[in-house]
């Protein structure tokens, strides 16, 4: 009897405090380790970066062994996309080609892409140290960091990329609105 009388009150409480509770109860809760293992997204803050370190010198060795075959010995002239601008810093950055380790707004994007996608058809075989070293090598090759800079989880997100803030950020997207305000097409 007592339970029945308080039930409506409990239900009301439930609606207000558990509005965010699951509706269907389908799916499994992954462990923190599972998430860490799956999460290869490295955002601009670098908070997901794993431990490890690497330098330009170490990167040069890894590059010769695992990258030069497709990207060319100097980052130019291979069958894969070029990794070094043919033009020097006297040319405006946006005119120097779409080269990831030069134009990327964040060094984390370079690290993330090498880690998830390289080398072609042998993805996932590079160690974290190798990815740090290759990132250092490619950034140094494009004049972004000095040869003696050590890249790790702390220093990588702090690398100042030459583009600075000279790239467009995206406008807020809203459903049922034109893709560009004032653009009739």
């Amino acid at each position: 009897m007592g339970t029945l009388r308080v039930l409506p009150f409990v239900l009301l409480m439930g609606v207000s405090t558990l509005a965010q509770s699951p509706t269907y109860g389908v799916g499994r809760t992954p462990t923190a380790e599972e998430i860490r293992a799956w999460d290869i997204s490295i955002g601009p803050t670098g908070e997901e970066l794993p431990p490890g370190r690497g330098t330009t010198k170490e990167g040069a060795q890894v590059y010769r062994a695992k990258c030069a075959g497709c990207h060319g010995a100097t980052g130019i002239g291979g069958t894969a996309p070029i990794l070094k601008s043919k033009a020097g810093p006297e040319v405006e950055l946006w005119a120097r080609g779409r080269i990831l380790p030069l134009r990327a707004p964040f060094a984390t994007t370079v690290w993330d892409y090498i880690n998830r996608a390289m080398p072609l058809n042998r993805e996932g075989t590079l160690t974290a140290d190798e990815v740090y070293a290759l990132t250092a090598f490619l950034l140094n090759m494009n004049g972004v960091i000095p040869e003696d800079e050590v890249l790790d989880a702390q220093s990588l997100p702090k690398v100042k990329m030459p583009i600075g803030d000279r790239f467009a950020s995206l406008p807020e997207w809203k459903p049922r609105t034109p893709r560009l305000k004032g653009y009739p097409y």
Binding site: L100, P105, T109, S169, P178, P184, Y185
Partner: protein, 414 residues
């Protein structure tokens, strides 16, 4: 009863042989006599299990943009759909265009092993098996998809070459909003990253507003499971957004508070805010598929001009056709229901007088966006309209087809 069946089969076989003889002999039927039957196809187990089309129907996809696909290594690049032969609005799964962010092998995923992980700025990260997803409330929707590189060029001869990197299918799956509510979005969640399982594990940043509006994770396509080329067993649908956002082999969704600048996002990076703004939602676009480049009209007289219209902004509201090079525009008939972010078939009744002319189509969508000509786009961007002019964002310009006196149809942009 059972004993009679073989007799009937023997009879049919005999009939087919007889008919073949008649056809070869070209014996004209006598007045009042039933016409000869066509040759018969002998049934086999494969036709029973998974049917074939007629051997007289030879419409096929082609490698897009001059790059062989598959290449010598078996990598699939871009593959274009034969729009010149299309009817209605559904692209058969076998003919749906294929795009890969980089030449890619097609992952062979055992659906029993596949998992979707949703994590990041959520109260409860969750992993879903394919079985889990099929238990949840489903949606079935018609949606087009289009590759950002679907661009008419001077060299292109057919509509497959100018526009073949778009297709439309019926997709079935679970709304992403349902999954995200199940996980509980945290305050400040403003973007999400969708990631596939192919070698590059292609990842794109998208606004959370899109996720909550109409994105869904699809396991079904045209009444059956997704094809491997379309992301089996699971892909993201981001209706009306450029093709690359429709992440195939979807394995992970991470809810975040900023644009993550993944490699795919880097591909969209631009200096000019107005150009960058065009990088998501596809503008209003249409094309005449019949008659189109490479078709040959047998002579003057009646033709129903037929084509497709679509927009990332919503449903198609109006389609117009010009048969005099864009001087006069006439309202075309929209066939059936115009669905949001779906190919919409239109028709226009035309009597060709046998003179050289140019035919074009343009569309208007439900939010009032109008498909422009190349000249209008050049004017807006303050650029000179010459052969080097490239339409910013996805090219949604009007496609002109030239009809020559001899009935041949040519690319009007050539």
């Amino acid at each position: 009863m059972a004993s009679k069946r073989p007799d009937r089969r023997e009879f049919l076989k005999g009939g087919a042989a007889l008919t073949g003889g008649l056809t070869l002999g070209a014996v004209a039927p006598v007045l009042g006599q039933a016409p000869a039957s066509p040759p018969m196809i002998k049934g086999n187990k494969d036709q029973i299990a998974y049917g074939d089309r007629s051997r007289f129907v030879t419409s096929v996809r082609i490698a897009h943009g001059g790059r062989p696909s598959p290449d010598d290594f078996g990598l699939v690049f871009h593959v274009a759909s034969p729009l010149q032969d299309s009817v209605g609005v559904i692209t058969p799964s076998s003919l749906h265009f294929v795009g890969t962010t980089r030449g890619s092998y097609i992952p062979e995923i055992d659906p029993r092993e596949h998992r979707l992980l949703i994590h990041g700025m959520v109260d409860r990260p969750l992993t879903f098996t394919m079985e889990d997803l099929k238990r949840l409330p489903s949606v079935t929707r018609l949606h087009f998809m289009e590759c950002a590189g679907n661009r008419s060029s001077r060299r292109a001869k057919t509509v497959q070459e100018t526009h073949g990197m778009t297709s439309c299918a019926e997709w079935t799956g679970v709304l992403l909003s349902v999954l995200l509510k199940e996980c509980g979005l945290k305050g400040g969640a403003s973007w999400f990253v969708a990631e596939g399982s192919e070698e590059v594990k292609g990842a794109s940043s998208m606004p959370i507003a899109k996720a909550m509006d109409d994105c869904f994770v699809a396991y079904g396509m045209n009444g059956e499971a997704l094809r491997p080329q379309q992301g089996f067993p699971l892909r993201l649908m981001a209706p009306g957004f450029e093709g690359i956002f429709h992440t195939k082999y979807l394995r992970r969704i991470k809810v975040v508070d900023r644009y993550y600048m993944n490699y795919n996002d880097f591909g969209h990076l631009d200096q000019e805010p107005k150009v960058a703004a065009l990088a998501y939602q596809i503008g209003p676009k249409s094309v005449i598929t019949f008659p189109s480049g490479g078709h040959q009209l047998p002579g003057r007289g009646f033709y129903e001009i037929s084509g497709l219209a679509w927009s990332g902004g919503g449903a198609i509201k109006k389609v117009e056709v010009s048969t005099d090079g864009g001087k006069r525009w006439n309202i075309a008939e929209i066939k059936g229901t115009a669905h949001r972010m779906a190919h919409t078939r239109f028709g226009y009744q035309w009597n060709w007088d046998g003179q050289e002319t140019e035919i074009q189509s343009r569309c208007t969508d439900e939010i009032g966006q109008v498909q422009p000509s190349r000249a209008q786009i050049a004017k807006y961007w303050n650029k000179t309209l010459d052969q080097t002019f490239s339409v910013p964002g996805l090219d949604n310009s009007i496609q002109p087809w030239k009809v020559a006196k001899d009935g041949s149809v040519l690319n009007g942009n050539a």
